[in-house]
């Protein structure tokens, strides 16, 4: 078991390097850092330009890309990050603040979403085929087919714009973390600003997890060991909790770990619509400017997250399901 985990961990290291190198090349080719620097700083002196090229390692040719990548990596690891092209700001403080905002939004939404989704899934799977099943299933299907920006637009339209028309003041704010001009920390205002974005993300998560849980639990309920458990004479409640739910959750843990990308994707879109200053907004802003020094740490960080959760998925599957462990 330990060896399996260690081997996967060892494999993850070259994978991170290869993937981030590919990302580096893609960004170098795709966003052309030098051209965007010249576009943003139109009156930069030749010395400034030369300095920019050197601090970012923007050398040409395949060898140049390789050299530039390692130079970038060295700077990244030693926290000597190049400054952003617009206004030459430090990248890390902004990145950190954005990360905190995203974590707050993402963790809240994921927690609420998974809780509601799993309960709904259980609730439906216990009585399949009825009206309850059809309603929830159709609802989940509608929610899956609704992109986050559509639900966001509709929510904003109702709770901000039209609420204002009907009742004189809008119920919920549609953008930011605090109203403009607010200084300092204010929990109530923060929560108020998070209601709509969290709702949008929760809708997505609930829809997905309801369907997962329903399918997984139904499969377990129809399996033979359930019949065995019942025939042993254990109470129905105990059968459900000890035998059915525990087994039904195994595939879901794996799916949850892989799904992290989809959740992050939804977050990016949601943040943009609500002008919520998180990582998604950070990336899209950087992308629009062609801000290479801002994009590269972002991509590196996300590659790490994605590879890490892929690893978690594999390992958790092996830990939770003894049948897999025997095979390796």
């Amino acid at each position: 078991m330990l060896r399996f985990v260690l081997r996967r961990l060892l494999w993850a290291v070259p994978m991170v390097l290869i993937v981030t190198f590919l990302v580096y090349v893609a960004l170098r080719v795709g966003t052309n850092p030098l051209a965007s620097y010249l576009r943003v700083n139109q009156r930069a002196s030749a010395k400034k330009i030369q300095q920019y090229i050197e601090t970012n390692g923007l050398y040409e040719g395949f060898g140049g890309y390789l050299r530039g990548y390692f130079q970038w990596l060295q700077g990244f690891v030693t926290f000597d990050w190049p400054r952003s092209i617009k206004g030459s700001r430090e990248v890390w403080p902004e990145f950190r603040d954005a990360m905190m905002n995203t974590l707050r939004l993402g963790l809240t939404a994921t927690g609420i979403g998974i809780l509601i989704g799993l309960s709904l899934g259980v609730f439906v799977a216990l009585k399949p085929g009825g009206l309850r099943d059809t309603t929830v299933n159709t609802g989940a299907f509608v929610a899956i087919s609704t992109p986050p920006y559509v639900s966001a637009l509709i929510l904003q339209l109702v709770f901000a714009v039209y609420w204002n028309r009907w009742f004189g003041s809008s119920l919920l704010p549609t953008s930011g973390v605090y109203p403009p001009g607010n200084r300092g920390f204010d929990l109530f205002l923060m929560i108020k600003h998070m209601v709509l974005p969290v709702t949008v993300v929760v809708i997505q998560i609930v829809a997905v997890y309801t369907r997962y849980m329903r399918a997984s639990l139904l499969e377990v309920l129809n399996s033979e060991y359930m019949r065995t458990a019942r025939s042993k004479g254990i109470s129905e409640r105990r059968v459900l909790v000890r035998h059915a739910l525990r087994n039904a959750l195994i595939p879901i843990v794996t799916v949850a770990a892989i799904d992290i990308g989809a959740i992050l994707g939804g977050l990016i879109i949601t943040e943009r619509i609500f002008s919520y200053p998180g990582l998604g907004d950070f990336f899209l802003g950087a992308y629009d400017n062609g801000d290479f020094p801002q994009m590269m740490p972002w991509m590196f960080f996300f590659t790490l997250v994605v590879i890490f959760f892929n690893l978690v998925a594999d390992v958790s599957y092996a830990v939770l399901d003894p049948r897999i462990r025997l095979g390796r």
């Binding site: 994978m15 993937v19 990302v23 893609a26 960004l27 080719v29 795709g30 966003t31 052309n32 085929g129 159709t138 299907f141 509608v142 899956i144 087919s145 609704t146 992109p147 920006y149 559509v150 637009l153 509709i154 904003q156 339209l157 714009v161 039209y162 028309r165 892989i258 992290i260 990308g261 989809a262 992050l264 994707g265 990016i268 879109i269 943009r272 990336f283 899209l284 992308y287 991509m299 996300f302 590659t303 994605v306 590879i307 959760f309 892929n310």
Partner: protein, 297 residues
Amino acid sequence: MAFRRFVRHRGALVSSIILGTMILFVILAPFTARYGVNEAVFKTSIENPNQFLSPRGIAWLGTDDIGRDLYSRLIYGLRVSIFIGLAAAFFGTVLGVTIGAIAGLRGGWIDDVLMRVTDLFLAFPFLVTLLVLRSVMSSVSWLEPFVGKPTSIRFVIVLFVLFGWMGVARLMRGQVLALKEREFVEAARALGAGPVRIVVRHLLPNAIGPILVALTFAVSSAIIGEATLGFFGYGPQPGAGSTSLGKLVGGAKGALLPGYWWLVVFPCVLLVLSTLCVNFIGDGLRDATDPKLDGTR
């Protein structure tokens, strides 16, 4: 048999009818649309402006910021979106089937690399992958004869094909792995059939059910994908004579705060309705082609 099971899936049946109607409307756009795609409902004047009219007789779903009929524009927009969805899904599936078949038949390191790439692509946030791919595709100049201008419809289709083959590839690989040791494949091989013939004549027909289902879901995700790109302003600009759902949904952003609800609600509803129908049809197809679900639903 499969058809009867499909019909029994009520959601799929209703969706087919709705989607069929939509496609009919879209094909017959010159007759079903009331105005041209860029035509104002009437000539604007100061005492009688034509922009931002709420729904009424001359414009069933209202007009937009320069007085064009939303209903007609929705029809033309849906036409482009459905075309992008179908084309991207079709070519993506073909590419995915090919790669999946190679991975499944060859095995070895090709298989490993391919599946790792697939994992990563599927796990990365979709909008970011699309944006990075898009910028690479638009800045490599020798690609332009193949992929077209970044604002063209062809470019978006190529983008979605490059982005959309992974799921199908993994599926096809699984099918090939499950089928390739079976007797009928062995028999074909013994009769001297090459790998291409084995895949096309023997493996593909046996795997067609799940692939068809994946194809359907690929259509809806391409439609949503186009709308997402369009919403954030990275989508196709289909020329002066055309529009797309993405552009129409993107136009909703500006209409939100002044409260022109029709410009928000109708494009959104149409987008959700069309993807929902496609998804339901996919679900019905899955039920109809999956032998495990024989009649028990």
